[in-house]
Structures are given as C-alpha cells and as structure tokens.
Amino acid sequence: MRDLYGRFGPWLATVFLSLVFIWLAGMVLAPNLMMIDYALRPNLPPAAIGGPDDSYSLDNILYLAGEPTHRAIFLKTIWASALVALVTFLVCYPVAYWMAQHATTGQLSLALLLIIIPFFINEVLRTLAWFIILAYRGPLNAVLTNLGLIDAPIRWQGDGGVLAAMVYAYILFMLLPIYNAIESLEKAQIEAARDLGASSWRIHTRVVIPHAKAGIATGFVFTFMLAAGSYVAPALLGSPGSRWFTEIIYNWFFEGGDWNRGAAYALVLLVLCLAVVLITLRIARVNLADVAK
C-alpha cells in the first residue's frame, strides 16, 4: 500500500485504491451478500415482504437436503465435475509433457496455435459444434457406422456428451498450468532418473508429477470450478437423465420464480466448490497465491 503511494503519489494511488474497492464491494461483495440474504428468507408475495413471516431461516437450504432428486443431482454434479477434471488431466498431461520437454520451438508454436484457435470462438458456439458432432444422425455416428464399428447409431447425448464437451471446453485451463510447471523441470533430472534404471512410469510418478504438482492442482481447481458452474454444456448436450445442478438453479430463478430457493441452491454450490478447492490445495500443499500465478 505504501509502495503504491510512493510510486504514484497520493492522488493517483487513492484513485486506484478506490477503484479496487468499488470493484470488490460492488461486483463481488454486494451480490454475494444479497444472495445470502435472499437464500435465508422465504419466498413471499410482494405484499408480505417485510411482514411478520419475513424472517431468516435455513428452510431453503434444508429443502435441498430433503428433496431426493435435487440432492442426487447436486451430488452427481460434484463427482461428475471431479470426473471432468480427471479426464481433462489425463488428456492434457501427455500433451503438456510433450510440449514442455520434447517439442521443438516450431512444433510448440504450432501446437499452442492449434489449441488456442478454438477458444477464439464463443463457448456456446463451441458447445453447439459438439451438439452437431454428437447428434443422433450426426457425423460421428455416420463415420462409425460406415467404418462398421457400430451397427446402429448411438445416442451420445447425455452423460457422455456432457463430459466430452466439458473436457474439450476446459483443456486450456488444465494444459497451460501443467505445461508451465513441466517446462521448468530440468531435463537432466529426467535423464538422471532414466540412467538410474527408472521406467517411464516411475519417472513420471516420482520426478515429473511431483515437480508439476502445483500446476496440476491449479488445473484441477480451474477445471472443477468451471465444470461445476457450467450451464451451456449440460443444457445443450445433456438428456433428462443427466441434469446438472446449475440447471436446477436456473429453473428456480426463471421458471419456478422462487429466487430465494435459487439463491440458496447457488450458495450451497458455491460453498461446496470452495471446500473442494481448499481441500485439493491442501492435499497438493499448494497455496492460493501459487494458483493465482
């Protein structure tokens, strides 16, 4: 803070600090406090707001605990998001390793370009692309049928479709932190491990992955949070059997007209995401400041 004043003088520094404060207060703190306020109040007709029934209670949150379908969807969203993070990791790790340790400068630029280009396109459109690819009479089924790999088209939409679209959508958030982490690993360490007789598996589990732990944890956290809060992919590619918790929240707000219950559901999701993130970081012994880097 003193540094800021020293560098920019009292006027400019005060302006900067006020802007940050306004941002935090107006864009982060206020909406969240309002959401908590909504979550704790009952849904009342306008006339009754402020009346004797308008008191704080945990009813909206307890409703979720008592409603088996919502509860199941909630739990499923949590583990499915973890699964998305895991699959994204499995897809990204080999690519990141290759890019960081083996690729030539030219290959690296090309790979980065190919990976980043799709992200120039809006997320909804990218998901729509998967909608088309995975359609019942779409290209994937056509190719597989023509190759003779399947006899009849498969209904990809549902859990599989949602997983595929999310993994695809979040690749960058997993790939880049892992790439950064592996890139800083000295090549001689990998060579030393090989020279001492280690198999590729052992080199990765004992040398590369421990070194890249912070990057991997960062990728997991990003991907998990994005997946848990995702709406487009499950809405477009899901089936009635693969509903996502965000869809329920949406329904409370815009179809059920019960903002209070919607807010309560959103609050539960937020708290749970936070818990998962903190636990992950704890396990990987990484702190939030490292993730921010």
Binding site: E186, Q189, E191, D195, L196, G197, A198
Partner: protein
C-alpha cells in the same frame, strides 16, 4: 564381468554439424580415464553416447566387450553424474541415493540400509533425511556420486561435475574422487575442460579438439610428448617457435628459426626439410643457460609464491613465458632488461607442422 569401455570409430552428426568423427579408444577396467578438450570439442557427446542418451551415427560402443547398440541408458552398466548434478529436489537425500534401487524393486528397509551405508562412504552420515536444497555444494556433489554408485555401475561417467565448485573445494574433491575410484575399482570416465584437473586425477587422458581425437596418453606423456600442436598448446603453457627442420638424428631434431638454430627432441612429423615448430615449456627456460640460447626483453615478472612467471618478448616480437622457481628469483632478470634464456634439448619437443 569386466567393464572396459571401447569406442570403435564412432562418429556423430547432428543435422549438418559433425560433432564427433572417427574416435576410437579403449578404457580398461578400473581405470580413471579423462576426456579433455575445450567446450564444443565433442567430449560431452561422447559421454552421452557411452551412457546411451544418444546413439552414434557411426561406429560402435562396447562395454565389457558387448555391443551396446540399441540399449537405452537404463539398460547399460553405466551411471552418469551430470554437470548440474540433477539431484531430485523434492526427495530427501536418502531417497535420492536409493532411487536406482527403488527402480530395481528393492524393498524400502533394504534401500534405507544401503543409502545409509553409502552416506557413510561419502562421510555424510546422518544427512539422509535432509533435502538436497539444505546441503552445501560439496555435499550435494557427494550425494550425486553416492546416488550413481548405489546402482553398482561398472562404469561411472562424470560430466564436469566439479565445475560449479570453488577452487579450494574443487581441489579437495579431486583427491576425494581419486580415492573413491581406487577404493571402489569402478571404471571412471571423466569429462573436463580443465587440464590441471585431468592431469592430476587420471591414469590416462584423451585430448579432443573439434570432434577429433588428438592423443590418448598418460598425463606425464601428454605433457612431455605431445603428439600434436593442439595438445602441445592446450595442455600446459608453452613457447612455440616455428622454423624449418634441418636435421633429425638419434631422437633429436634441429630446427632453424628466425631466433637461431635450436635443438629439441624429435616428435611426431619431425622430418628433415619439413616445416616444424619447437615447443618449450616455461619451466624449461632458464635465464643464463648457454645451450639453445634465445634473446628476449623482459616485460613483467609475476610473483606467484613457489615460482615467478616471467613475461617478455623474443627478438622477433613473439611472446615469451618462463617460470623461474622462487629459490632462483635473485638471478631472475628485472623488467626492461635484455636477457638470454636457454633450455636443455630434452625439455623441448619439435613437431612437424600439419
């Protein structure tokens, strides 16, 4: 099983760059063998070919008589000590040392026992649970050696492992490496650009320049009987005076130079009538010696303790370097003086110019 290392006409080409060409030599079991050369001479490439990190584009590498072609670094009886040491920073010291055993499926208790044993060998008992980052440079150095020795290699490959240490520690580690090699009987192949390191530690030294092998010899032979001009100039200091060889007889060669007629031992390529160069070591040049007289003007005398380095110019302007023992410093010429130096013929060598 014997662990001699033989290189048979190996060559290595990276793209259009010829890193190593037609190098052959044999390192005997239990030998301390150094490869000496300036950076970029191909010595590290040779080491990596012996270790199995790169396959030579020509020729063969044989260890214990067995062709190593197609065998990866984890399948060869070699262990390498990297220039950066490449200790695993996230593993405690004992796990570092036992990593090779872990890779061979040795149980944890046995690994720990073996690691402690090696820690005793390198005089770091009780350091097993520290992290590598908590050790000093010399200690990390020793851990890297222990880690390589843990897999009981037949051949230990060392890639300038002392270059990161300060002078005192480096000299200490030289003696320690040498002792360790004698005690374990492992074949050492040591890469260095530091000629005093190579001369002090090795049984034999291979000198390389620009991908070509110059000479393989004992340190003494290398110093006294350089086979090529490169070796004469690279190993130790030397005064080089060129001329025309006028007579070769009984192992002596006479060379007519602009500074007079000089006589030295006849070396490689010394033929009557050929162009040649006489190489005279600084310690061979004595002020006042009447044999092989050379006139020079003294420019500077650097006192170094045991001896003084005398810098000057010969009559034709070429630089002169002579080292005079401190005990004879009283006779040493003063800067600015014209002095006559001389040297005994057996302390100089005449080589034909290639």
């Amino acid at each position: 099983m014997s662990h001699s290392v033989e290189l048979a006409q190996i060559g290595m080409t990276f793209g259009t760059t010829r890193a190593v060409s037609d190098v052959s030599f044999k390192v005997e079991q239990g030998e301390f063998f150094s490869i000496l050369g300036p950076s970029g001479c191909g010595k590290t490439t040779i080491l990596r070919m012996i270790a199995g990190f790169t396959e030579p584009t020509e020729g063969r590498v044989l260890i214990g008589g067995r062709d190593m072609k197609g065998l990866g670094p984890n399948q060869r009886p070699t262990a390498m000590i990297f220039q950066s040491l490449a200790l695993f920073p996230l593993m405690p010291v004992w796990e570092n040392i036992a990593f090779g055993l872990e890779a061979r499926g040795v149980g944890k208790a046995e690994r720990r026992r073996k690691a402690d044993e090696l820690l005793r060998l390198i005089a770091l008992e009780g350091y097993g649970d520290r992290m590598p980052g908590e050790l000093s440079g010399g200690q990390r150095q020793r851990v890297a050696i222990a880690r390589a020795l843990a897999v009981e290699p037949g051949v230990l490959l060392l890639d300038e492992p002392l270059s990161a240490l300060d002078l005192k520690l480096r000299q200490h580690m030289r003696a320690e490496l040498r002792a360790l090699q004698k005690r374990t009987g492992v074949t050492f192949i040591y890469i260095t650009h530091d000629q005093s390191e190579a001369l002090a530690m090795s049984d034999r030294v291979a000198v390389m320049s620009a991908g070509l092998l110059q000479q393989v010899a004992t340190p003494r032979e290398l110093y006294d009987n350089p086979a090529t001009a490169f070796v004469a100039r690279f190993v130790g200091e030397t005064n080089a005076i060129s001329g025309r060889i006028s007579d070769v007889q009984d192992g002596r060669a006479r060379i007519d130079t602009a500074l007079g007629i000089l006589t030295g031992r006849a070396g490689q390529g010394a033929r009557t009538g050929a162009q040649g160069t006489i190489y005279i070591r600084p310690e061979a040049l004595m002020p006042g010696d009447p044999v092989n007289a050379l006139d020079a003007r003294i420019e500077r005398v650097d006192f170094e303790g045991a001896f003084a380095l005398v810098h000057g110019r010969f009559a034709d302007g070429a630089a002169l370097a002579a080292s005079v023992p401190s005990t004879r410093l009283a006779e040493a010429p003063a800067p600015g003086a014209e002095t006559r130096f001389g040297f005994a013929p057996e302390h100089a060598v005449v080589l034909g110019d290639a």
